[in-house]
Symmetry: C2
């Protein structure tokens, strides 16, 4: 399986992340990918290539152009306004406020385009985010050209980013762009399966009113974990999209038995629908020792999960999402890929 990876992810490394009322060393840090690369090498995934330059057209077509301009220019505006630190949102459109009026002031714009203040924008964030989605695009092209599967080793991750909001360490939704590019290259039915510990709220939001992209997400129950206000089982899509969104929220302490039953259900939905291609939002923070999550998956469970996904026999792009138990992120990620390849 070919792996697409850009060194430019290193351009995004915030000094701090807001957690528990303090600034902590970011959980979402560059070393995560080093552990994955080391493990890939060790397990003979040697076909690791840098992506070509990003193709902006499918991104601007899918996402909000004002949002993309904001991401590109926010750092310069923030610094021009004399702000001392990295970009962290403080003021947001809340209940009872206007949800559709964009301030001129950069501090206000940050709040408008952000949904979670743990996520900082730095000088290199935009370039890193483009390099991340470039890997997803390259993986999509590789599979669209006939490969069975590809792994986009994306960083920053993407599944929490909506068409016009960043947060949850995500800026551009790599999986959503990948899914849309499959549609554009001829697939009628594209499925996105999100096995990251956290709900893929961004991906859900982008495709919520569409019947051509099915979304299924296994994740921590929103009443107990981020993103808290979305990811309930009763979110089933809207309008034409009704019936094409499947959420599997699970409570703290959930182990592989319950998790894999949800996975099987999601796989059955995808297969019954007749998906032609699959995009997997591959987070491994369902791991038992993940520092910000509460599922109980063992490393071997990730191999088994990969195998179940592989049995669908669909052309598949894996997009890297979360996973913060850094030493084990490599093992667990590659286990999914190996299970998939062995199916």
């Amino acid at each position: 399986m070919r792996v697409f990876y850009s060194e430019d992810h290193r351009l995004h490394f915030p000094q701090a992340e807001l957690s528990g009322g303090q600034f902590v060393t970011p959980f979402e840090r560059p070393s995560r990918l080093e552990y994955i690369l080391n493990r890939l090498r060790k397990r003979q995934f040697l076909d690791v290539v840098a992506p070509e330059a990003v193709d902006m057209a499918p991104i601007t077509a899918l996402l909000d152009p004002g949002y993309l301009t904001f991401l590109e220019t926010a750092w310069d505006e923030w610094k021009a306004a004399g702000m001392g630190g990295e970009i962290i949102a403080a003021n947001v459109p809340a209940r009872g406020m206007h949800m559709d009026r964009i301030p001129e002031n950069i501090d206000g714009k940050v709040g408008y385009y952000c949904h979670a203040s743990e996520t900082a924008i730095t000088q290199g964030t935009w370039k890193a985010a483009l390099s991340s989605v470039a890997s997803a695009q390259a993986a999509q092209r590789h599979v669209a050209a006939g490969a069975n599967a590809a792994f986009a080793l994306c960083r920053p991750p993407g599944h929490h980013a909506t068409a016009d909001q960043y947060g949850g360490f995500c800026f551009i939704n790599n999986a959503a762009v990948t899914a849309q590019m499959f549609r554009d290259s001829g697939a009628e039915r594209v499925a996105v399966l999100d096995i990251d510990f956290h709900h893929g709220n961004g991906t859900q939001d982008i495709f919520y009113e569409r019947a051509d992209v099915l979304f299924a997400s296994l994740h921590g129950a929103p009443q107990q974990t981020y993103p808290y206000f979305i990811g309930y089982a009763d979110e089933k899509g809207r309008g034409e999209g009704e019936g094409y969104n499947f959420n599997y929220p699970m409570l703290s302490g959930t182990g592989y038995s319950q998790w894999s039953a949800a996975l099987d259900d999601a796989i059955a939905k995808i297969s019954a629908w007749g998906a032609e291609v699959l995009v997997v939002s591959l987070g491994v923070d369902a791991y038992k020792d993940d520092p910000i999550s509460f599922f109980q998956l063992e490393s071997d469970d990730f191999t088994d999960a990969g195998r179940r996904i592989g049995r669908m026999k669909l052309p598949t792009v894996f997009c890297m999402e979360g996973g913060y138990a850094v030493e084990m992120v490599g093992v667990n990620t590659v286990n999914v890929l190996e299970g998939f390849a062995d199916a």
Copy 2:
């Protein structure tokens, strides 16, 4: 003019405030009140008394009981969850998410009940907020009993707090509680005039659908300053409240000429309506040297503003709100009171 003041405001003193992507020493700090107390003494406002115990009944009747319980218990829940710092919101219900589902998790609850992450909750915040509103209640009783005016030297301030959201350094809306208590004690028409630099979004929100409490606010235009997403001139009330909400947003650089014209217009609206009593949200951050504001009022302008307000000859409770140019907060605040008394 009697001044009501509780020492318990000192119980709320966050270590840090999120500003420009950094934690800074809070602008909203205890010393603000020391400057005001010193100036009051110097200008012979010697009738400074501590309020009686807070009366919870009017507070729970006006605000959301779940919100009040949250404020009371948040610190213990936060610490029980192992959080290292003070309470700072990181995750909020944003566009596209549920606005009406309250998480179980304390980190999620904080996001649900907060609209701005610069505002920290500390161990002593709840007790301080109660002492602040107790001063407002005592001032209301004093005026309802026949006094011409009273000054509630409230801290923390209140006008940004809605019935179920804190933010902007505010937790319990002192001015709104005061206005409601005037209604409860027999006044048919109560006006709230907010001259703080920032929009009194909380007060507006609490009375937005009511015709018995008129709200008028002079403030920095929302596209340029906090709270960014509310405070536009086209917000005029809803339902029965339509026509009883007046916003005067003004752009960066506004001086007293424009500001006082807006004040006169608000005063004319209040007088024409036939308000029986007046609550003034008294912030002095419209001052030219305020560190987080952009109006250009001189100290003498505050005297003149107080005089204009005093000419309404209404029974009046002043509730202290913002003002962060600490050395001048005392002068400017007392100038308003002196102008009022001289009218």
